[in-house]
């Protein structure tokens, strides 16, 4: 006898030997993984669709708290859609599809069928979809100047838009941007799930996937804010959503000391504006190449032209009182995709006199929207506000664009389409007779088929780094910037002697930084450190967290509009950061006190007792989430799973019985040694 190394009668010893055996076995197998790593294969390189809430409802995706499981099925044709919706014998399914099948109809059918537990959007291979916009056909219509009874309320500006971004989907959706992970999914589907001859279902086991994107927020913004503020022992722990927001960047071209100089008279300023942010259905991926970056770079380029000391010194030398135009303000709005958050906030601040001037001080409002033109037959379009008095301005622009051979058509004001969706609308809501123009690359429908989508990238606007040819994007944007700059110079100086020439090099570098890699020379000079070699996401994010996007925009503006301070060392410069607004970048010290950033959070979150149902201001919040994960595993049939579980439980019961019995009869089974050895 004696297979147990220490014969004993006590239960304690039996337990002890068990523990020792377990220790020995785990030491021997210490290289083995944990069980779940043998069962699950994680899918990395994913972007999740998440939840946003507004004053009345919620939109976006969520999974259950444990994650949603389904059998993978690839959508290739009508037949496979029917398979998922009604024919397939093993629901629920996780539908895998390519961008071309990611249509409103398909997704809504999946959601309503009750047989689909989630969707995986795969990266397209080879074939490119011709349009992919999840924004509405008339972006921001509910926040604009045209009320819902007006025929101009919702013109078909974005015909590619299918409004999925604004739908309450309530199941998980992930975009798989990695090609290797896509292959992993397809291989698992082909090996286990693909119906034989396309019609006969395969038997168990099948390849299944678990998608996890649980969202803490629910119902609507007032509910989630209220729940975030309930008393909690651990402050902040109850938070379930955050208002959208970031920073608006605004700067004056000429110095203006708010405390000493007089306030600006009416109609004495030019505002040049663009928006910073784009949007998409998925987290961390919103390139917005045409949607926002093209206009942003045009305005940054105008900053560079006008802020150049050789130009600015002559603009500033103008005698006071001679010219009705006193100054130029640049404004970069954030959060515009979600109900004009940034521009509505600045107008709100102006109304409360929390801004250096108010809406009535503006003579001309010049906004650059989608501005990518990259073909010989492309053209720019100048849209005007309905009640504007812009003849002087449009005549000047016409004159200067001809000098630069820029193609631009002035769109007749008060036409049946009205003003395109633009930040200008926030200002017009406050002052309908404001003279404003919007420069875009479309007359009616957007030229951009990927507006606010994940594929609105450099390829779609034909951007090639280094290409500065006659019809290149760089050349067109540079000419547009020069045209606007020359117009503004003439308005400020009342003479046409001073001119700038297009600067496609700067435009090229800026596009490279914003669309290809933030690890570029311009950003490196400004931030003094290496950046991740991919473009920044343009999504505005939550107000409690500043994005790299707005920070770097402020730095670029500071570089172009700041004043060089000479004979100051780096340490002295940093010392005067607080007191004088100095900033050290590009190996020199700059006075950037005229470049400001203010909060771009919707006024809805500031007004006490704001009526969330009124829809006056943007009320979007973003739900908090804990983690995103996608993993696949081989799932046996239900019967198999039940048998495994039941036999496991039986084994446990049986072994407990056996051990108990053996323990009871231990003195009979195991021969007793001398009493001294036994406890």
């Amino acid at each position: 006898m004696g297979w147990i190394w220490e014969p004993s009668r006590s239960g304690f010893s039996v337990m002890l030997s068990g523990i020792i055996l377990w220790l020995i076995s785990s030491l021997c197998l210490s290289r083995a993984d944990r069980t779940f790593t043998k069962v699950y294969e994680p899918i990395l390189g994913t972007n999740a669709c998440f939840k946003r809430l507004n004053g009345t409802h919620e939109i976006g995706c969520r999974s259950s708290s444990k994650g949603d499981v389904g059998i993978l099925h690839l959508i290739e044709d009508k037949h496979s859609i029917n398979w998922v919706l009604k024919d397939g014998p093993n629901p629920p399914y996780i539908a895998m599809l390519y961008p071309i099948d990611f249509t409103y109809e398909n997704i809504i059918q999946f959601r309503d069928s009750g047989r689909v537990n989630g969707v995986l959007l795969l990266k397209e291979k080879g074939r490119n979809s011709t349009s992919f916009s999840k924004d509405s056909t008339c972006p921001n219509a509910n926040y604009g100047i045209y009320n819902s009874s007006s025929p101009k309320h919702c013109k078909n500006w974005n015909p590619s838009g299918n409004s999925l971004l604004w739908e309450n989907l309530n199941f998980p959706i992930f975009y798989i941007h990695s090609a290797t992970e896509t292959d992993k999914l397809l291989k698992c589907f082909d090996n286990f799930n693909r119906p034989v001859n396309g019609i006969t279902a395969r038997g168990w086991p099948l390849c299944a996937s678990q998608l996890r994107s649980f969202m803490l927020g629910a119902v609507d913004t007032p509910t989630c804010l209220r729940r975030s503020n309930v008393f909690n022992m651990n402050p902040g722990a109850a938070k379930v959503c955050d208002p959208l927001g970031d920073q608006n960047i605004w700067a004056s071209l000429l110095p203006h000391n708010a405390s000493s100089s007089e306030p600006y008279p009416n109609n004495s300023l030019i505002v040049i504006a663009a928006r910073i942010d784009g949007a998409s259905l998925f987290d961390e991926i919103s390139p917005a190449a045409d949607s926002s970056i093209s206009g942003l770079i045009t305005v940054l380029s105008i900053m560079k032209h006008l802020g150049d000391p050789s130009i600015r010194d002559q603009l500033g030398s103008e005698e006071e009182g001679d010219n009705p135009i006193k100054n130029v303000y640049f404004m970069l709005f954030n959060g515009e995709s979600f109900g004009y958050i940034g521009s509505s906030r600045i107008v709100y601040d102006m109304g409360l006199s929390n801004f250096p001037f108010n809406v009535s001080s503006i003579r001309y409002f010049i906004e650059v929207n989608q501005a990518s033109v990259s073909s010989s037959n492309g053209s720019y379009f100048l849209h005007q506000s309905d009640l504007s008095q812009s003849k002087e301005l449009t005549d000047l622009i016409e004159k200067h664009k001809q000098l630069l051979n820029l193609k631009m058509e002035v769109v007749r004001p008060r036409n049946e389409w009205g003003l395109p969706p633009s930040s200008l609308q926030s200002f017009l809501k406050d002052r309908p007779d404001l003279t404003g123009i919007v420069l875009t690359n479309h007359k009616k429908e957007y030229k951009n088929k990927f507006y606010n989508g994940i594929f609105d990238d450099k390829d779609k606007i034909s951007y090639y780094y280094g290409d500065r040819g006659v019809y290149s994007l760089q050349q067109n944007v540079a000419s547009l910037a020069a045209t606007v700059s020359n117009t503004v110079i003439e308005l400020l100086t009342s003479s046409s002697d001073l001119k700038v020439t297009p600067d496609p090099e700067t435009v090229d570098e800026l596009f490279h930084c914003y669309l290809e890699s933030a690890n570029c020379s311009i950003f490196y000079e400004l931030t003094g450190m290496k950046q991740v070699p991919k473009p920044y996401a343009t999504y505005v994010g939550v107000a409690t967290h500043l994005t790299s996007m707005s920070q770097v925009c402020k730095l670029v503006a500071s570089r172009y509009l700041g004043y060089l301070v000479e004979n100051v060392t780096e340490s002295e410069c940093w010392k005067m950061q607080k007191t004088k607004g100095y900033y050290w970048m590009n190996e020199s010290c700059y006075d950037i006190s005229s470049i400001n950033s203010t909060e771009a959070r919707s006024p809805a979150f500031l007004i006490d007792g704001y009526d969330w149902r009124s829809g006056k201001y943007s009320s979007w919040t973003e739900s908090i989430w804990q983690s995103f994960s996608v993993r696949i595993f081989i799932k046996p049939s239900l019967a198999h799973e039940v048998i495994t579980l039941v036999s496991g439980i039986l084994m446990l019961g049986l072994s407990m019985l056996v051990v108990g019995k053996i323990n009871e009869k231990a003195d009979i089974i195991f021969e007793s040694r001398s009493e001294a050895l036994v406890c």
Binding site: F214, G217, A218, V219, R226, S623
Partner: protein, 101 residues
């Protein structure tokens, strides 16, 4: 405490004490009273104090059942209506559910 070893007066005192304590919104005390003294009240051979003990046990038991019924009714009403009540529903909740109405 082993009731069977207590004197009869002591038993009556305890049953009475528990009965009155239950009025301080302590239905569990009534429930305990009813269960604990059930045998004394109904199963043991009669003795002088048993009538009074019986009275307290019945009343405690009745009170406990009333409380339980009321609590269960409220719970059903609350659970089925919490979402519809909106803000009031949240205010009445100790743990607010996350990720759902």
């Amino acid at each position: 405490m082993n009731l069977s070893k207590q004197k009869n007066e002591r038993k009556l005192f305890l049953a009475q004490r528990y009965f009155y304590a239950g009025f301080a919104f302590l239905p569990f005390v009534w429930a305990i009273n009813a269960v604990w003294f059930y045998k004394e009240a109904f199963m043991t051979p009669p003795y002088a104090e048993q009538q009074d003990i019986k009275k307290y046990v019945i009343r405690s038991g009745f009170g406990a059942i009333l409380w339980a019924a009321a609590l269960i009714a409220w719970n059903i009403v609350f659970q089925t209506n919490r979402v519809a009540w909106g803000e009031t529903g949240d205010d009445l909740s100790f743990v607010i559910p996350q990720g759902r109405p």
